[in-house]
Symmetry: C2
Subunit: 143 residues, 2 copies
Amino acid sequence: MATTKAQAKAEYNAFMAVCPSRQLLDRISNKWVVLILCALGGDVPDASDQPGASHAPKAMRYSELSRLLAGVSQKMLTQTLRALERDGLLTRTVTPTVPVTVTYQLTGLGLSLHHLTRGLRHWAQTHMDQVLANREKNDAQAF
Amino acid sequence: MATTKAQAKAEYNAFMAVCPSRQLLDRISNKWVVLILCALGGDVPDASDQPGASHAPKAMRYSELSRLLAGVSQKMLTQTLRALERDGLLTRTVTPTVPVTVTYQLTGLGLSLHHLTRGLRHWAQTHMDQVLANREKNDAQAF
DNA sequence: GTGCCTACTTCCCGAAAGAAAGCAGGTCTC
DNA sequence: GAGACCTGCTTTCTTTCGGGAAGTAGGCAC
C-alpha cells in the first residue's frame, strides 16, 4: 500500500523530468509566456492608474502584443501564442476586415494562470531595488 | 507634468526590454529557477502529506538538489545557484567536513518569491489534465 | 602512490532564440 | 493591370544557450 502511494506520488511529482506537470511547469516558466499572460490579462502599465479596475482579460491584436512586449521577435511571438492556444490558455480569432485582424484573448484557464504571472511581475517590480543592491554588494566582494 | 509621469512609468514598466524589472522577470521566468525555489522552499512532494506543515525554508546540499531536480545538468545547477546567490535570493554555505559540504538556503527575499513559484507548481499540477485535454482536442482538429 | 568523495569547471556540439528578409492575401491608387 | 501599401505570419541565417560528458581541486583512506 505504501508502495502504491509512493508510486502515485511519483507520477504527479513536478520535480520528475518525465512528469507531465513538470513539462507544463517548464512551458509556463518562460519569459514570453509570462509577459503574454500579463499583457492579455489586462496587467498593463496604464491600468495601474485605476487600482482594482481594468484588470480584466483584454483581447489584443498580434501587432499590439508585438509593440507592447518590446524585444520579442515575430517568430517567438507566433510560436508562443500558438503553443498557448494549443494548451487552451487563449483563443485566436481571425476577423476578415480591411487588412486581416487577428485577436488573442485569455480563456478561463489562462486567466487563472494570469493571476500568478501578475504576481511574478509585481514581485519583480517591487523587489527590483533589493535585488540590484544585492547584486552590487556581491559583485564588490568578488575583489 | 504629464510627460514626467509618463517617463517615470516607462522606466518602471516590466514590458520594456531595457527596464531592470523586466530583466529580473526574465531571470525568474526560468524553469530551473522556479524548480530550485520550490525545492529550497520546502515545497517538496513528501511535505504534501502534512498539509500546512514543513513548508519551511529548507537548506539543501548541492547533491540533494541535483538528485531532486531530475534532468538538471551540473553546469546549469551551478550557474543558476550562483545567479540566485548574486541576486540575494539564497545563501551559499561551505562547511569543510570530511568531503566538503555546500548547502544552499533561501533568504527572506527568496522566500517571498518562493510563495509565487509554489503557486506556479501547484497550478501546473492541478490544471495539467485540462491542458492535456485541450492539447489533444486541438491536435485532433488539425486534420 | 592509487583511488574515492563532493562540488564544481571546461569543452564540445546540437537545439533553441533572435534578426532580418520574404510571402500571402487583401485594398487602394493610378 | 502594375505597383504600392497593410497585417500577420513563415523562412532563412546567425548567434547564443543549454545538455552531456569528461576533467579538476582539495581532502582523506588505504
